[in-house]
Symmetry: C2
Subunit: 327 residues, 2 copies
DNA sequence: CTGAAAGCGCTAACAT
DNA sequence: ATGTTAGCGCTTTCAG
């Protein structure tokens, strides 16, 4: 059996209360001699605190649960790094619960799991909640914050990049390079996708370009979504494309090249993300770069009640995937 | 205050024991009528079970902790998928603890965290343990298994690809394509790296090629490690390279292209991993492909005592990054 | 500075 | 089928 404070108490002759105090470092409530003796015996016995028991009596935990929707793209690592960094600084542990990809049952279950573990806060990453999820979250008294998804509801906390701006800037960049037939590929039907669509459409409109519905190719931010869009784009003679993710951009470029196009001459691409994939792809992808670490950090801030930036700005990173278009 | 079984007991008039029984679905120990009443009140009150309390009294949890070393490459997602899949089938939850990259303090702390939470098992992914880690793990009575690292110690459980074979096959493939000056880039000094080095060296030896120490460029499996190796390789006129990861391979190819080389004519590359990066890179990377999902599944099996495959076989996937070499 | 005692929310004998 | 009771390992008054 694992040793408990009782064993230490028996061994040292102190009461369990005293042992508890030194182990919890309640300073000023025990003498140095007592402390040394307790610590020594604890070490000898190979004592490990039972966090479960502690959390039960304290009725609080120092753990933040991150529930992540596993999108078929690769942006999440940076965010998790940021979360980890800030959480550690605040003395919180981080546990990550994977919820599959757009899997309602798993997603709901993950929220319940987090709630039943009495975590101190819940971060929902790339998650689109349904009514039940939202009810569950609001009824519990656990703080929560959506990450990388902006639900466009003032009452619900979220931290994400400015999706509208991201798409707007990407589209404008292509327009500034002479493109007039501009696609948007890989976005989904949810909040993030819709916001990017709005930004894209606004940029077209502000520049007096009459967009076509077919220029928007829906998808799931994946490499495959990019590949699949190439043929349609070729048929409609699109010259520049805003891709919803680096993965999607890479897929589109690859399909174009396999079909004999010379890039970026025959097709310009701007991706949204700015991960290492941009450097790996050929030509290197010009991107709207998200500040993932910052998003992670701010989301933890949001959770602990500090006022956090809810819309993290994006920046443009020029690489080699866009070429000036001349008729 | 959150409602507890006490509240349900008070409301229904039953004892807490009965409430506990129906909530825990101890079938046969309560009537249908009782169950309906209890469940109804539980729902009305918005009752959520306190997992902490349950785990404390049961002295066991149904959670597997995955401690992951964040390597600067991208192989881990597939493994986690496999772990998740198998764990869910076994009724276990999965929590993931990030331990930074080769950060001894964080790594040790993560093990302690897992132990103090009384998890049912610990999976250590891409982790190189030191003496203290190993002592901690063996002294606790918690099952553990190393994943994607083979410690070459019969007494310590691990599941990984056959690193020796992976490097051997990659090297032989290049030799079969006429290469004689073959590099190995991106490996580290730890077990995985050493095992791959052995396989590489054995393949050279078996084919009567006298290797040079400088053909081996150490690294950390990163994109940057690949980039950094290009110049040295160019100077020593290496014609084929085995890369320790897809990321490293991509970095090497990119550096070569930036320096004006035509690939794969001027340099052939085989990578070890076989992730989507292989398709994104240009030319698409021929790879020794690891079965990540299988590794994840087997590692969970290993934990729960089923006899698991400890060395998961790799396969060769031909793409476009290797060209026949002729003098 | 230390100890005794009362729980945290739940489960598991042991009764009935 | 249900209730009573005794904890799980820890923290925290309240006394002294």
């Amino acid at each position: 059996m694992k040793p408990t404070i009782k064993d230490i108490a028996a061994e040292t002759g102190f009461s369990i209360a005293t042992v508890s105090r030194v182990l919890a470092e309640k300073r000023g409530s025990y003498s140095d001699k007592t402390r040394d003796r307790v610590l020594k015996v604890a070490k000898e016995l190979g004592y490990r605190k039972n966090t479960l028991a502690m959390e039960l009596v304290k009725k609080k935990t120092d753990v933040i649960a991150v529930i992540v929707n596993v999108t078929p793209t690769n942006f999440s690592n940076g965010i998790i790094d940021g979360i980890q960094e800030r959480a550690t600084a605040l003395g919180q542990q981080v546990i990550i619960l994977y919820a599959g990809n757009r899997n309602h049952a798993l997603q709901h279950q993950a929220i319940i799991t987090a709630l039943e573990r009495s975590v101190s806060g819940i971060l929902l990453m790339a998650i689109e909640p349904d009514k039940d999820d939202l009810r569950l979250l609001t009824e519990a008294r656990t703080p929560f914050c959506f990450v990388s998804v902006n639900l466009a509801d003032e009452r619900i906390k979220s931290v994400s990049s400015d999706n509208y701006q991201a798409a707007y800037q990407a589209t404008e960049y292509l327009i500034a390079h002479g493109h007039r037939r501009i696609g948007l590929v890989g976005i989904d039907q949810y909040h993030t996708g819709s916001q990017r669509r709005s930004g894209y459409q606004a940029a077209l409109k502000d520049n007096h370009i009459q967009g076509k519905a077919s220029w928007i190719q829906m998808g799931d931010y994946s490499y495959q979504a990019g590949q699949a869009a190439f043929k349609p784009y070729q048929q409609m003679a699109v010259t520049g494309v805003v891709a919803a993710s680096d993965m999607t951009a890479a897929g589109l470029q690859k399909a174009a090249q396999i079909n004999g196009l010379e890039l970026p001459m025959a097709l310009s691409v701007v991706s949204i993300d700015g991960t290492l994939i941009c450097d790996i792809a050929t030509p290197a992808l010009t991107s709207i770069t998200q500040d993932f670490t910052r998003i992670g950090i701010e989301s933890v801030n949001c959770l602990v009640g500090e006022n956090a930036t809810q819309l993290v700005p994006v920046t443009l990173t020029e690489r080699d995937s866009v070429m000036k278009y001349v008729e």
